[in-house]
Structures are given as C-alpha cells and as structure tokens.
C-alpha cells in the first residue's frame, strides 16, 4: 500500500513538472498560462459532449498502454505501436467493406475487432521477427514500419478504396450506420469500446501479475541470459509480447474505425500510439496508473484543440504544449532514478535519528 502512495506522490510531482514546463513555454509564446489551463479544463471537462471526446481519446490510449506494458516488461521498445494501430484500422476497414452488402452486420462488427487485433499483431510480429531472427533493433524496425503503414493507408485512400468520384484526404466512403459500433445517443460513445477497454485492463493486469507469462516476461526483461538458463526461450517470449502489444494496438485502431470515424482516414491513429508510450512510462509501468495518466493526456489533447479559437493563439501552440509535455515527461523519467537514490538516503538518515 505504501508503495502505491509513493507512486502516486511521484506522479503528482511529475504532473507539477509538466505544468511548470508548459507554463514556461506559454509565457515565452506570449500566452497567458492560467487562462490557457482554464480553457484546456473547460474544453475537456466543461460539458458532457467534451467529456465524451476525452473518453474517445482515452480508449485508444489505454488500449495501446495495456499492450505496451507487455513489451516494456520484456525490455522491448515497441515504437511500432503507431503502425500497429494503423494496421488494425486497415484490417478492420477491409473486413467491414465486405459487410456493406451484408445483412449480418453484427457478426461483421464482432469479427472486425478480431481482424483489427490480427492486423496489429501481424505488424508487430514483423518487427518481432526482425529483432529475434535478424537482430534489427525493434525501435528502428518499428519506426520504419510506421512509415510503411502510413503509406499503405494513403495508398488505400487514394487508390483502391477511394471514394467514387473524388479521392480526398477526408478518407474512404463512410460506412452505413448498420456497420457502426452501437453508440450511446447523447454522448456518441460506443459502450462496446468502453467494455473492451475494461476487459483489456483486467486481462492485462491478471496476466502480468498472476501468470507465468507475466513472470517470464519480467525475467527475460531483467536478464535474458539467466532466463535462458532457467529454461525460458527469450526469442519466443519477445514475439509473444509483440503479439500482445500489436493485438491491443490493433484493437485500438479497429475501434477508431468502427466506433469513432466509421471510415478509414489518413490520421486514423492520431499519434495515440506514440502518446501511449509516454503514458506507460509516466505510469512507471504500473497498470493501475495507466488509466488515470491516459485520462490526463486525453484531457490535454482534447482541451488544447480549443485554444486557437478561444484565446486567438496560433493553432501550432497546442502542438508546442504537447511537445513540451513530451520533454517534461522524459525529464521526469530521468529524475525518477535520482529520487529513488534520495529516498534511499532519507531512509538511512531516518534510521540514524532513531
């Protein structure tokens, strides 16, 4: 219990650092920080409609976060998560296109989730095989595959899947309403997506904490040589971790298509994969901190969209704030180590006073 309080305290300190850094950036840009924060909060939590937008961002962030926990645990940097989201979306779109003429739309929607997981997992496995068989660093492989995935999406939108008549950046033809994930009328939120996230969180939590899979991933992440002597095959588990990460990311991409945009658009992944990397690091790889941290990032993401309109700030400022966030997160990540040392020292001096 005590460690959770400690984790939470660190999290709060991290957020404070993020605020300090972003405030500085805004002051330099000539923007009033407190007004900006006010509008970010108002823009994200100010109404049910806005809150539902936040949840729409929170769902893919949390799903990707769940998957990344598996790869981080085995010591892999799955930067390719972004491309895995995209391929999940592509596979889902491909499947739903067959469903346009069909009557069994519910079945198509159900299978579309599996198709998304498959797409993400295949994309992740490519990076995984490059790593285990070819010795290619998963960061470079993932980054490369992200570009390839983006290319495939653009090609599909402007090529084979283009709208009849005009091909445009607005994406493919919107699916008929029967192929939309059922939505809550008022919030336009998909309950299926919410349930999926909850299930994903519980499954990941249980797998990582109570099963051999979680233990084996941790062992290999800690020391692959020793894990091998303990009878584990590091390569296989790396692939397994990639399958989990890709599967969850693909699920996120799938829901972006069937539950949010109802078509394939160029920015279908909305950088949620990259953002999820930060979410997981900021959560200190603790699954129960992933949902709140993801929620915080989702609020910032949605809330800052308002800034150009309300404060007449240049629209690039929201990008700058997000960039500042990234830097602050990485900075805090480095300080975490330092805190641990200070904590150790505090403990020692505490004994001295006894």
């Amino acid at each position: 219990m005590k460690s959770y309080i400690l984790e939470f305290r660190q999290l709060l300190l991290t957020l404070a650092a993020v605020f300090a850094f972003t405030s500085l950036v805004m002051l330099i840009a000539g923007a009033p920080p407190f007004a900006a924060y006010y509008h970010i909060i108002k823009g994200s939590l100010g109404s049910w409609n806005k809150f539902s937008h936040v949840i729409k961002a929170w769902i893919p962030l949390t799903l990707c976060g769940c998957g990344l926990l598996f790869t981080f645990r085995i010591g892999l940097w799955n930067i390719g998560v972004e491309g895995q989201v995209m391929m999940g979306a592509v596979f889902t779109t491909a499947l739903l296109r067959f469903g346009v003429e069909s009557n069994a739309t519910v079945a198509f929607l159900g299978i579309s989730l599996l198709a998304g997981m498959l797409g993400g997992a295949i994309w992740a496995l490519i990076a995984g095989f490059l790593k285990t068989r070819g010795g290619v660093n998963e960061i470079f492989a993932g980054l490369g595959l992200n570009f390839v995935a983006q290319g495939i999406i653009l090609w599909l939108i402007f090529g084979p899947w283009r709208r009849p008549g005009v091909a445009s950046m607005s994406g493919t033809e919107t699916f008929p309403v029967s192929l939309w994930m059922p939505l809550l009328e008022a919030q336009r939120l998909s309950p299926v997506a919410l349930v999926t996230v909850m299930v994903a969180l519980v499954i990941s939590g249980l797998l990582l904490r109570y099963t051999r899979v979680g233990l084996n991933l941790k062992a290999i992440g800690g020391n692959p040589n020793a894990a091998y002597l303990f009878g584990l095959k590091p390569g296989r588990f790396m692939l397994l971790a990639m399958i989990f990460a890709g599967g969850f990311a693909g699920l996120a991409g799938s829901l972006q298509v069937s539950g949010v945009y109802h078509r394939l658009i160029p920015a279908i992944s909305s950088n949620y994969g990259y953002l999820a990397l930060l979410v997981v690091m900021l959560s200190n790889y603790n699954i129960w901190l992933v949902p709140p941290v993801a929620f915080f990032f989702a609020c910032l993401n949605v809330g800052s969209i308002q800034l150009p309109m309300v404060l007449q700030l240049d629209s690039s400022l929201s990008g700058v704030i997000q960039g500042a966030l990234v830097l602050a997160t990485l900075g805090v990540h480095a300080w975490r180590q330092r805190w641990a040392e200070i904590g150790e020292r505090e403990k020692n001096t505490g004994v001295k006073r006894d």
Binding site: Y210, T211, G222, N225, K233
Partner: protein, 486 residues
C-alpha cells in the same frame, strides 16, 4: 596515509551490517580485514571507498575528519577500491578502460596513456595488451587492469575486496608481489578476505570482523587457530572425498572442439561417470569454462560428438540438455545466474513447472523461505537478489539446484565463499553424489579440488593435458601441469 574509522555503523533497514567498527590503517603496511561471508567486511570497505554512505560514525584521514559522498571524491582523497566484480566496461578495450576517469578536457592523449599503461603493466609483470577487448579477459586479468587504473589515478590507499577469488594461483602470486611492492613504496594496502592463507601470506596486521563488529586484531606472526576462533567461534572440520564408487558413463566427449573464451576447447576426449566429482584445474580461461558450456549445450560443438547417458547430443541446445538432467551453474552471478530486480520468491516461482499457466505465489514464497533457512541465506523472500551480498547470492544459486540431476556443471561454485561455507556447500553437494549425480566443477583453488574431487582434469591453452585421480597426485604435480609442464 593514515586512515582511521571511528564507530562506523551501517544499517539496511533493521539489518546492522556494521555495528560500531573502529579501525586504524597505517601507511606502508598491508592490513588484512578477515571475516566470514556477511561479517560486514565489504560494507565497511564500500563506506571507506565512498560507494555507500555510513549511517553513523566518522572517517579521519591523516587526523582530519573527512566526509565524502561518492567514489570520485574518495579517489581525489587518494582512496581507491578494487571490487569483487571489477567495475569496468565490457564493450571497451583494455586501454579505453584504463583511460576512464583519467582523461580531462577534449583531447585524449591516447599515445601517452598507451605508453603509461605498458610501462605500468610491465613493472608489475601483468601480461595485458592494451587493445584486447575487455569481454574476453578473465576476472583475474580484469582485476589487474583495474589495479593499474587505480594506481594511475594516484591512489594512496588501495582496498582489495576478495581479490583472490576466481583467479589462478599464478595470477595470485603476481598480485601479491605487486601489493608488497606498493606497500614498500609507502602506500596503504587493505586486503579484505575470508581466506586465512591469503591473509597470513601477505598481511602485516589483521583485523577480524564478525557479525558487523571487530572481534580482534593481530600482528605478524599470526596464530591460525586464534584467528579462526575470532572468525567463527569454533574451528570447522573439512569434508573428505566421497567414498562412492563411480557407475556407468554419463557424459562422453569424443574429440570435441569448440570456440569461445580466449583459447577455445581443442580436441577433448573425456568420460564422466555416475557419482563422480571431477575438478577442472588450470589457469583462469584455459578452456575450463568452454568445457563446461559445451558439456551443457550452451556453446556449439564445432568438431566431435557428445553423448549424454547414451544419447547423442550434437547440435542440441541447452534446454535439451536440461531435460536430460544437466544443470549448469555460471560463475558470474549477476550477469548470468540471477535476474536483477527480481526477488528471491520470484526466482523460485520461475522454477515452477513451465507448463503451468498461473504462478503459485504462496508455494513459491514458502519454498523461498524454506531454502533461505536451509541454505542460511541472509535475506527475506522479498529481498531483490541484487541486494544480497556476493556470498549469499552464491548460496542462493546453489539452492536452485534441482533435487535429482544427472549431471551438475558448476563454474567456480564456491567463489566468494568463506572456509566454513565452502565446507558446508561440499557436504551438501556430496549428498548428490551418493544419489549417483555426477559433478563437474571448475575452481581456481587447487586445495579445494584436491579436497573434494575424485578426479582432476588440468587444462592448458584449451587442451586437457592431464587427467588423473586426485588420490594419485599432489599440489606440486598439478601446479606443474597448470603451468603446461607434464
């Protein structure tokens, strides 16, 4: 340089690793710190070297109170430490490691350092080449490198933590000669050891620690029995060789060659029988390590064939060997044996049936608690393994050995353990042999090999140049063979 430690306390939570230690180190002398594993020697020395912070107490250098926070500061004051596991960089060359911490500014003056290195290495008769990549060096050679690096930094007081573990006796002699030279030049040398014979051979003065406290001091000439009493209370009894008669063939190697290490393994013909304890002797890195790894399927055989209890095992991986009852225990504990960041309980959970889906945490925790008690490990089921002392990590590795293995391959199994623990470990291992397990182990201690092994294989330059029953040989003959003279 005079060093004085006054009333040093170091507490890890409720564990008191040092509990009011007083110590005075004089210049120009070799001062031994003697004690069994976990007596608090390493802790005390890490405090002196600035590696960890004392809970209480003061350090005086030449009568002046000093307070430093890190090893770099300690080095500026002239105190340097040679750790049990040398702190160096595997990916760099010998010269690069030597230069670390010495270079200032932008330019590196590599030529000057090379010259300095060669001169320094030559003056101590260390056979180190500056361009060798560090990862192929033995522990003994890495230690020599570290020693040279510390001297080049201008160290006045040198602390050596168990320097003779894992090095050959030739390397040990070289090391002792250089330490004597250093003391003669007025430097303070502090030798931390649990080996009585090392301390007796080298030191002018000894301080004995037991359970975090000083139990006595002694100057030359030493009285071994009294020193042992200070260390343990009562002197231990060494085990004899096992009386079991060897059974059928377990491991058969037919003209096996393999690569790896510095020398590789060349044309090796060996038969290991059931219930036999075979000791591998030789200079560190003469092929013993490769032999053990090839025998365990951890390194491929380039030529020749291996049979395990009648099954041909060529080109099989370690897991196939493991399924046939072969267990390999590596010498480098934190690099290969244990998983940093995981607790003792998690290590036992890892050894549960691999086909099970759920981890039985309670079962693992109970097993961990039982083995901790049984193997006298100082720690709790939740201790992370990297927080254990070297000796305790070694005990933990031994506690992982399965109940009924066919063949145990142990790389320096008693490295870093004190006399009492070594004896205890071998009593434990001999019980395996009575159940017809074969044990093959390497050791840099000829005494240990002669004490417990039924047979000795002497390695020289990647070849087995002597294969003899230990009852029919002696230290002198083996020593000659180790040096390549048969």
């Amino acid at each position: 340089m005079w060093i004085e430690l006054q009333d040093i306390h170091k507490h890890y939570g409720s564990v008191k690793a040092n509990n009011g230690v007083n110590l005075k180190i004089a210049p120009g002398r070799i001062h031994g710190i003697l004690g069994e594993n976990g007596a608090g020697k390493s802790t005390l020395m890490k405090i002196l070297a600035g590696f960890s912070q004392k809970t209480q107490g003061s350090i005086l250098i030449d009568g002046q109170g000093v307070n430093y926070r890190d090893p770099a500061h300690a080095a500026e004051l002239g105190i340097g430490m040679l750790y049990q596991d040398p702190l160096d960089f595997q990916l760099l060359s010998v010269l690069d490691n030597f230069m670390l911490g010495q270079t200032r500014g932008v330019s590196q003056h590599k030529k000057a350092f090379r010259k300095q290195f060669i001169e320094l290495a030559g003056s101590f008769n260390f056979a180190l080449h500056p361009d060798t990549p560090l990862k192929i060096l033995t522990i003994g050679e890495r230690q020599q490198l570290e020693l040279l690096r510390l001297l080049a930094l201008g160290i006045q007081a040198l602390i050596l933590d168990e320097p003779t573990t894992g090095i050959s006796s030739t390397q040990k002699n070289t090391l002792f000669d250089s330490l004597k030279k250093l003391a003669a030049a007025g430097k303070s040398v502090i030798l931390v050891s649990h080996k009585l014979e090392d301390v007796e051979a080298l030191c002018d003065e000894v301080t004995v620690l037991r359970q975090g406290q000083v139990t006595g001091d002694m100057v030359q000439p030493f009285d071994s029995n009294r020193l042992l009493q200070m260390m343990f209370g009562a002197p231990p009894v060494p085990p004899g060789r096992s009386a079991a008669t060897p059974g059928s063939d377990v491991l058969v190697m037919r003209s096996v060659s393999g690569s790896g290490g510095r020398t590789g393994l060349k044309n090796c013909d060996v038969v290991i029988r059931q219930g036999e304890i075979v000791g591998l002797a030789g200079l560190e890195g003469s092929g013993q390590g490769v032999f053990l790894r090839v025998a365990g399927g951890l390194q491929p055989v380039s030529v020749g064939s291996i049979q395990l209890a009648g099954h041909t095992m060529d080109n099989r991986d370690h897991h196939s060997f493991k399924r046939r009852g072969v267990t390999f225990m590596p010498a480098s504990r934190l690099e290969e044996g244990l998983i940093t960041g995981m607790s003792i309980t998690e290590h036992f959970a890892l050894q549960q049936n691999h086909n099970r889906f759920m981890v039985k945490w309670q079962e693992a925790r109970n097993l961990a608690a039982a083995r901790i008690a049984n193997f006298r490990i100082k720690g709790t089921p939740d201790s992370p393994v990297d927080a254990l002392s070297g000796g305790n990590q070694q005990r933990l590795l031994l506690s992982f050995l399965p109940a009924n293995p066919v063949l145990l391959l142990l790389e320096n199994p008693t490295r870093g353990l004190d006399v009492e623990s070594v004896i205890w470990v071998w009593q434990h291992l001999q019980a395996y042999c009575r159940r017809m397990t074969s044990i093959v182990f390497s050791s840099s201690e000829l005494d240990e090999i002669l004490m417990v092994a039924d047979r000795v294989l002497v390695f020289f330059n990647g070849r087995i140049i002597k294969d003899v029953e230990s009852a029919r040989t002696d230290v002198h003959e083996l020593g000659m063979a180790i040096a390549g003279k048969v």
